[in-house]
Symmetry: C2
Subunit: 144 residues, 2 copies
DNA sequence: TATAAATAGGACAATTTTATCCTATTTAAT
DNA sequence: ATTAAATAGGATAAAATTGTCCTATTTATA
């Protein structure tokens, strides 16, 4: 569904949000440990998220990544997915046609439109804060 | 959503079904032309579909690919997707976790279960025959 | 029986995605 | 000022996916 980069991006952002709610900034190393992802690759993903103003990065000693509380509530999964995978997830044809639309549809166009629309809705209505609920109590997990 | 191989597989199977309904067997070359796919790569995909008894292949002069009328009605997209991409589409965790399930879910487990379930239902309820409806009249397309 | 047309399949190549490594830069703290 | 801890970013490598090429095999037909 999503690229590995995007999966790491969502998990990383969620972990950063969780710790930011507790008021602490987190290092790349800690993030990668907690979401069980390759450190250097995760660094690239975080760079991209930082450029897209989804996470804030602070350089230097005691630096790290954080997300403002306002953004934890405002940023939706859709923005993270778009920043990393673009809008192909929502718009690409299920059968790989370049010009698939209501005028010249593939045989499953309408059905895919429905599925993708549901996915889009879900991603547009799930905030980073929503993602953190359940994590502290161990009801949900970002690794394994 | 699907791999390129899978996209070609669905388009190829659909075209074969369409021609089989007309009673004609089709060659790899014709298939690749009609679905706008790379010939040799499509050959590999068709081999796989043949091994999985989704299409019938006939070797030798005047050979080609075909699907029995019974199978055109019975074979669902889900079987094609499974033959090529496995069940990752249905079962894989949206955030890439290996052990994501109701017991130890990722933060979006339930929401993804819903989306994937809808996708699965759609694929399990769409037959190759369904795919061919609209193609003859040019209402739907397998290329561009 | 020879030939031509077709799929089967192995080997390889190109591309994309994923992942690593190293150096530069920034910044807090000593 | 130095040092250590941290992100930024370029270069490269590894792996997976996508795509190509060539030969073998099969089979209808002349």
């Amino acid at each position: 569904m999503f690229s590995k980069a995007c999966e790491y991006g969502i998990r990383a952002s969620t972990y950063i949000a969780l710790k930011s709610l507790e008021g602490t900034r987190v290092s790349l190393k800690e993030i990668a440990e907690k979401i069980d992802s390759p450190v250097a690759f995760t660094a690239k993903v975080l760079q991209q998220l930082s450029k897209n103003h989804i996470v804030d990065s602070v350089k230097g000693a005691s630096g790290g990544f954080q997300i403002t509380k306002a953004n934890i509530n405002q940023i939706k999964l859709a923005q993270i997915v778009f920043a990393i995978d673009g809008n192909n997830v929502y718009e690409g044809c299920g059968l790989g046609l370049k010009k698939c639309n209501a005028n010249e549809p593939c045989p499953v166009h309408d059905k895919f439109v429905q599925i993708r629309s549901d996915l889009k809705n879900m991603l547009e209505n799930t905030s980073l804060y929503d993602m953190t609920i359940g994590l502290e109590e161990g009801l949900t997990s970002l690794r394994r």
